[in-house]
């Protein structure tokens, strides 16, 4: 192994590794992503570049990274972008398209329950007035769900909710309040749980 790593270091300034490579002792680094611990050492669990970062701690964080975080799964607390597929009075079903800014190659299904649509006046929520099939929604993962259900998502924050929606006339609607959007063609208003509009985004 010694000859190989020295060879690689000559070829590229970044060190490369494959799964199972021993990277360093736990006394030298804090394990980050793409690594695992075994008998006091940090090993790589990915084929990729070894990255050491100082994040203000005493020790640097060691991670192994690839070109994309291809294997990201929706995890509790993650912000996800999803598309609404169906609605019933109790919940909306969605397909998760992105975790953070990483697109998912495979579709994962999620559920936004009625009580998780907004933070206040939960009992007055009507799912039909919050989402429509085809809407693009920002949501946060609150649980991996159980065997019966899918990922549980919430939109109960100002910044979460519908970001893109099309009116019945087929045009992309413009948000006018936290609960309404308007069609630019017909000026008809439709109800949605609208995500708080980002000023940066409006300027762009």
């Amino acid at each position: 192994m010694g000859w190989l790593s020295s060879l690689l270091e000559n070829m590229s300034p970044m060190k490369l590794c494959v799964p199972g490579d021993k990277l360093c002792s736990v006394e030298d680094c804090i394990p980050g992503t793409g690594v695992y611990l075994r008998h006091g050492y940090i090993y790589s669990s990915l084929a990729g570049y070894v990255l050491r970062k100082n994040e203000g701690e005493e020790l640097p964080v060691i991670s192994v990274v690839r070109e994309t975080e291809a294997q990201l799964l929706p995890d509790v607390g993650a912000i996800v972008t999803c598309k609404v597929t169906s609605i019933n009075p109790r919940f909306a079903k969605v397909h998760i398209l992105y975790v953070g800014s990483t697109p998912l190659k495979d579709r994962f299904r999620g559920t936004i329950r009625k009580e998780d649509v907004r933070a206040t006046e939960k009992d007055k929520v009507e799912t039909y007035k919050s989402f429509r099939p085809g809407d693009i929604v920002l949501a946060k993962v609150i649980s991996l769900g159980d065997v019966q259900s899918n990922y549980l998502l919430t939109t109960a924050e100002n910044e979460l909710g519908v970001v893109v929606a099309h009116s019945e006339a087929g045009a992309q609607m413009v948000p006018i309040s936290w609960c309404e959007m308007q069609c630019p063609l017909t000026h008809a208003k439709e109800f949605r749980k609208v995500a708080r509009v980002q000023p940066e985004y409006l300027d762009a």
Partner: protein
């Protein structure tokens, strides 16, 4: 016999021309150099040609060629498990599917997966599973499929290597790579990484105590055996020696496999900026 209505059917029976000439397969000599010039009783594995990331649709893929043995492996997922009863909230699920192309063996195979294919799939599964960090993929499944394009011997061993490369190429977190190697024992002598002829010829000729094959799947960095299977008849010591030889064979393969994987990583993206 149920008729296969989903395929274009041919005549009910047909025979390979090689079976018509009922010349019994000549027993291979159990001494002297091997047909392909490799050395007997030495850890002389065939040089392998390996490539990662050939299949555009798969999350990860690999192709391996050793002598005439040619196979490829693809990895899909992690994705949602299809059936609710297979969903595990704590741990991901690995599925393996190993198949032989109908033209991959001297005798034409059927499209329908036989019990041998299923046996190979199972052994592939057991060899790979210990190496994959499945707990990182709750309620999802990772699908590994292997297609044998040409069977030139030691198929299972190479399938294990190829599949583990495809998993690594897919960016699935693993504790280690898994490498495979086979040994064929024929009397007092053995051949490493046997060819198809050596695999099928050995059992006919040998009348001695020790005649059989061993296949080992090995995690080189953790020094763990994840798959082992043997058949034939062997004394305990012969079997142990065979396992040791296989491990040695895996180590010979290791640098080539590492190189191929690193090449794929470098090709996929330049090193990230250190920030």
């Amino acid at each position: 016999m149920p008729t296969d209505t989903k395929r274009v059917r041919g005549p009910e029976v047909s025979q390979s021309p090689s079976l018509v000439t009922s010349k019994p397969a000549a027993a291979l000599p159990s001494s002297g150099p091997r047909a392909d010039g490799r050395q007997r009783d030495q850890v002389d594995v065939r040089p392998v040609f390996v490539r990662c990331g050939l299949v555009s649709q798969a999350k990860g893929s690999a192709y391996i060629e050793a002598g005439n043995t040619k196979l490829m492996s693809c990895v899909y997922g992690p994705r949602e498990t299809e059936r609710k009863d297979e969903t595990d909230m704590k741990c991901g699920r690995l599925t393996t599917d190993m198949r032989f192309a109908p033209f991959s063996c001297p005798e034409r195979g059927s499209w329908i997966q036989g019990s041998q294919d299923r046996d190979f799939s199972l052994m592939l599964y057991e060899s790979l599973q210990p190496a994959v960090c499945l707990h990182k993929y709750p309620r999802s499944q990772i699908e590994v499929s292997v297609m044998v394009l040409e069977n030139g011997g030691s198929v299972l061993a190479h399938a294990v290597t190829c599949a583990s490369l495809a998993l690594a190429d897919a960016g699935i977190e693993m504790y280690d790579l898994v490498l495979g190697c086979s040994v064929r024992q024929d009397g007092a002598s053995y051949v490493v990484d046997p060819t198809y002829a050596e695999e099928s010829g050995g059992s006919c000729g040998g009348s001695s105590e020790d005649a059989g094959g061993v296949t080992v799947a090995f995690l080189p960095s953790l020094n763990q055996i994840s798959g082992l299977q043997s058949d034939g008849e062997m004394a305990g010591e012969t079997l142990t020696a065979g396992v040791r030889t296989c491990i040695e064979g895996c180590y010979k393969l290791y640098p080539v496999i590492q190189q191929a994987l690193l090449k794929a990583v470098r090709k996929a993206a330049p090193p990230p900026s250190e920030s």
